[in-house]
Symmetry: C2
Subunit: 314 residues, 2 copies
């Protein structure tokens, strides 16, 4: 069943107690440098530090009472794990997060701080999936996939919903693409609310499976992705790909150097902390500046969880 505008609006209302309505910021300097008029939806200020809180909250709050008691589970070494843990904690639902032993200490701590049970596994996809299956078998918890899940996609769609509500008629809405949860949600909200606007994604060249999938007309999995934008390593899923195929005009790929330049500009000029993944759409816009000249462009800044002791600026 397709996700409707009514589903997205209901999700927005449902998750409202668990999320921040994040601000939309602008920057004269970045407008001047880009030649476009930019509106940044600051999900880096979202609770748990990323838009992932929206999808996680929608998934948790959509559970039946019986399923709430059993809890939620996922495998994630990143923002989705933190978001699911925090969303679950906020409403007293148990959360089980499978993480590779090699996950950064700071991410382990964040998940633990949100009261989730962490189950460590070897750092392979197989080990993650096997461990998750064991956990679910033991607990009967509901698996909340980081992106290939309609509740999650619907939750992520609320970021673009708010962006569109808080700006005048946008010509373009941009988001980065990894597994496509945010991008497909963004595409749906834009399709329903601003049917004339273009949805354009940015993707790292070192993890350009979505670009290649769109060209090929079928999902091409991400193999050995290699990019500084470590939130965008995953492959599209069978729930995100069809939405993207239908509603996303274009995916522009950018290399790590272009990503770091855009990231540095946002840090330096806007004085806000964003992850490398966030900078991908702005890098894409700079790369093809002529296509965006004088346009009103909404850009979703996805998150701000970076390791401050190891930054790519020198």
């Amino acid at each position: 069943m397709p996700i409707t505008l009514s589903d997205i609006r209901q999700a927005a209302e449902r998750i409202q107690p668990l999320i921040h309505r994040t601000p939309v910021l602008t920057s004269e300097t970045l407008n001047r440098k880009s030649g476009a008029k930019l509106f940044f939806k600051c999900e880096n200020f979202q609770r748990a530090g990323a838009f992932k809180m929206r999808g996680a909250a929608n998934a948790v709050l959509s559970l039946s009472d019986a399923d709430r008691a059993k809890g939620v589970a996922t495998h994630s070494s990143g923002n989705h794990g933190q978001a699911l843990a925090k969303a679950a904690q906020s409403v007293g639902v148990p959360a089980y997060i499978v993480m590779p032993r090699t996950a950064p200490k700071v991410k382990q701590q964040a998940v633990a701080e949100y009261g989730a049970e962490i189950i460590f596994c070897e750092p392979t996809l197989q080990a993650r999936e096997d461990t998750l299956a064991e956990v679910i078998d033991r607990t009967q918890a509901t698996f909340v996939h980081p992106y290939n899940n309609e509740r999650v996609i619907t939750g992520q769609a609320t970021a673009a919903l708010e962006l569109i509500e808080d700006t005048n008629e946008l010509d373009v809405v941009m988001a980065p693409v990894g597994g496509g949860g945010l991008l497909s949600g963004t595409a749906l909200s834009t399709h329903y609310l601003l049917p004339r606007a273009r949805v354009v994604a940015g993707e790292p060249t070192g993890a350009d499976d979505a670009y290649r999938s769109l060209q090929a007309g079928h999902i091409i999995p991400s193999e050995q992705p290699n990019t500084i934008a470590d939130g965008l390593l995953t492959s599209l899923g069978d729930k995100t790909f069809p939405i993207i195929q239908e509603h996303v005009k274009e995916i522009i790929t950018v290399n790590d150097k272009e990503i770091v330049v855009a990231m540095h500009l946002i840090w330096e000029r806007m004085k806000i902390i964003i992850e490398p993944s966030c900078a991908v759409p702005l890098a894409a816009l700079f790369k093809r500046a002529d296509d965006f000249a004088d346009k009103q462009v909404g850009i979703i800044l996805t998150g701000g969880n970076v390791d401050l002791s190891s930054l790519p600026f020198s």
Copy 2:
């Protein structure tokens, strides 16, 4: 003549076209960690990256037409130089900024980008003052002191004015203290608008001349200051000291380690970029948490101009 509330309100109106009304942000995590309710006035998002834009704009816009044509001059290797250059550029007034040859390239570039003429000098106070005197002799420009100037103090007072307008009754208003321009302006606005509130300053122990001046009852100049909070190295002036003496309840000193801990917390939890100097009031609050328990505390975050390639986090 004392600075009145009407002066401050007029300045707010005068500078409004040249400044941003910066947001007041809150953080659940920092409230929890501090035990107080904190309201951060984000002057790191101000034009030119710091509150200094307010005082500079007020000084430039208060000039007579004849003086506008001659321009403004100052010596500064920091935010005041950038702010004066940008304020002057915005209204077509020439600006002359004396900088030590050793000033960081990034600061030189910022001042140059704002169209000011940079005059380099040797990195001593004597050389700065001599060079500035020559420049003023040559150009007849008006000297705009970074803080010991009533127009500047009145401009800086507008930050607290906005903070107070945008929050419910604050119990405490906090700012860092260097030369005292911001602190004296903050103290005046708070005195007029929230007479029951306490004004408390934070100061680095490595540059604690204001603390010692307040104890002694007369200005004790800053000698060989040494702190990471490089915006707070200057001494109080004869225009800022009396206001601080009359209206500031207390100055709390904090060491560099405490400053970096507070700075890291703001970066990590609020996802915003602030200078070390900004973190001084929060560090002071943490140091004396019992004094602020359950209080509503407004904190002015002064600026966000940091060298991203050299951060104190490890």
